[in-house]
Amino acid sequence: MPNNHMQEEIRAVLKTVDDPELPNVSVADLGMVHEVTVVGGDVFITMVPTFAGCPALDFIQKNVKTAVEEVDWVKGCEVQFSFEEKWSTDAITDEGKSQLKKHGIAPPPENYRPGEEWTVDCPYCGSDYTSMENVFGPTACRSILYCTSCRNPFEAMKPVVDYVIN
């Protein structure tokens, strides 16, 4: 099998490994996969951590390794997190955004400026008549909001983007 096919196969597998705290949202769609290298039967994956304090990182590392090693031609898989590349919420794919919404989690706003207040539409009814209840939510990457239109509380992925020093 040509190397690029092998890589594609691995990338397809990564689309099936979900974030442990966001069921049905894969680590690939969250934009956490930086590089996939295949050497013979060995697979090396470089991933980009989302939030530094995220306790799920260890589980993700393990789940990715297990899933990739189930592919029949793979002898071994090594998963590393790298801080050279910075994850930002812009890396989430459209598929990822649509899956997040299904779980009542609004995707992050697109034009966020660090330190400024932000708002998102309700993932249930689409209304922009929403208010921020708590910037900090059940996990480091989520905030808690409320929709005044359909009267549902909901969560949103907290926007993080590259930091520019003024």
Binding site: G53, F83, A140, K158, D162, Y163
Partner: protein, 271 residues
């Protein structure tokens, strides 16, 4: 200053390595201790939303400490868990003000913690962390500069949180303002060593790891004064000595004993 791209490269220059490790220990231990004091508030914060927010900030800050300890592990200092749990208080490098107890009593019995201390301490610390990490994004040690950039993507949320508390309490009742001001005056007597780099200060600056102490201090005061109009007029003191040089109080012993109790009961356990 030429860039140093990897731990292996840093290890080749003994003087550079010593200065570099010194700076990273300070970053790691600062975040570690302030996170511990934050974790002691779990379930005790003024209201439920604050409990969620503060514990989220604390967990994330502990994640930052973890990344700094990881850099030290890469530099051959030993495993992360050991660095966090087993080092003797005399080699800890956190600023003394950060180990200070949250108030009277303890977590399990009668925790008479003081919210004014917590607001003032976290506001001053997060402001300090912002200016220090901004300077470190230009550090000659690239792996450290990368981590600083990563932390700075998340940390504005932390700083914004404590700024809100600070502003609201200063503009609230007379009692609130007096309590905050009393804790600010206290901080002014104790915060001095947080702003310093200890015995390796000259080398740390010389190797281009970060800007000099005086400039850092100036940037910090400038940033703090954007939120607090009337800063204490007294010079910033080091009432209990310098944590950067391994001087500490009994409060650090209490913190480390509590923090490491489970770890010490079985060092080999896998969690």
């Amino acid at each position: 200053m030429t860039e140093v791209l990897t731990a292996e490269e840093a290890k080749k220059d003994a003087a550079y390595l010593t200065a570099l490790k010194e700076l990273i220990y300070q970053l790691a231990d600062d975040d570690f201790l302030i996170s511990f004091r934050g974790s002691e508030w779990l379930g005790l914060a003024p209201h439920i939303e604050e409990d969620v927010a503060f514990s989220s900030i604390t967990q994330n800050t502990m994640g930052h400490a973890f990344m700094f300890y990881q850099l030290l592990e890469d530099l051959g200092e030993g495993e992360i868990d050991m660095l966090a749990h087993e080092r003797h208080p005399s080699v800890r490098r956190n600023g003394i003000y950060l180990e200070k107890k949250n108030g009277e009593g303890n977590y399990l019995e009668e925790p008479y913690y003081d919210w004014a201390l917590t607001v003032v301490r976290n506001f001053l610390y997060e402001t300090f962390k912002k200016v220090k990490l901004e300077a470190i994004t230009k550090s000659s040690y690239k792996p450290l500069a990368n981590i600083a950039g990563k932390v700075l993507m998340e940390q504005p949320y932390h700083l914004a949180h404590w700024k809100i508390w600070m502003k609201q309490l200063l503009n609230s009742t007379e009692e609130a303002r007096e309590r905050i001001e009393a804790r600010l005056n206290e901080a002014w007597e104790e915060f001095g060593d947080v702003l310093e780099y200890g015995t390796q200060a000259t080398e740390i600056e010389h190797f281009g790891l970060i800007i000099g102490e005086d400039e850092l201090k100036e940037r910090w005061i400038n940033e703090v004064s954007k939120t607090i109009e009337n800063l204490p007029s007294t010079p910033i003191g080091k009432k209990y000595g310098s944590g950067r040089e391994g001087e500490h109080t009994e409060d650090l012993d209490q913190a480390l004993n509590t923090l490491s109790e489970v770890y010490m009961s079985d060092k080999e356990a896998i969690w």
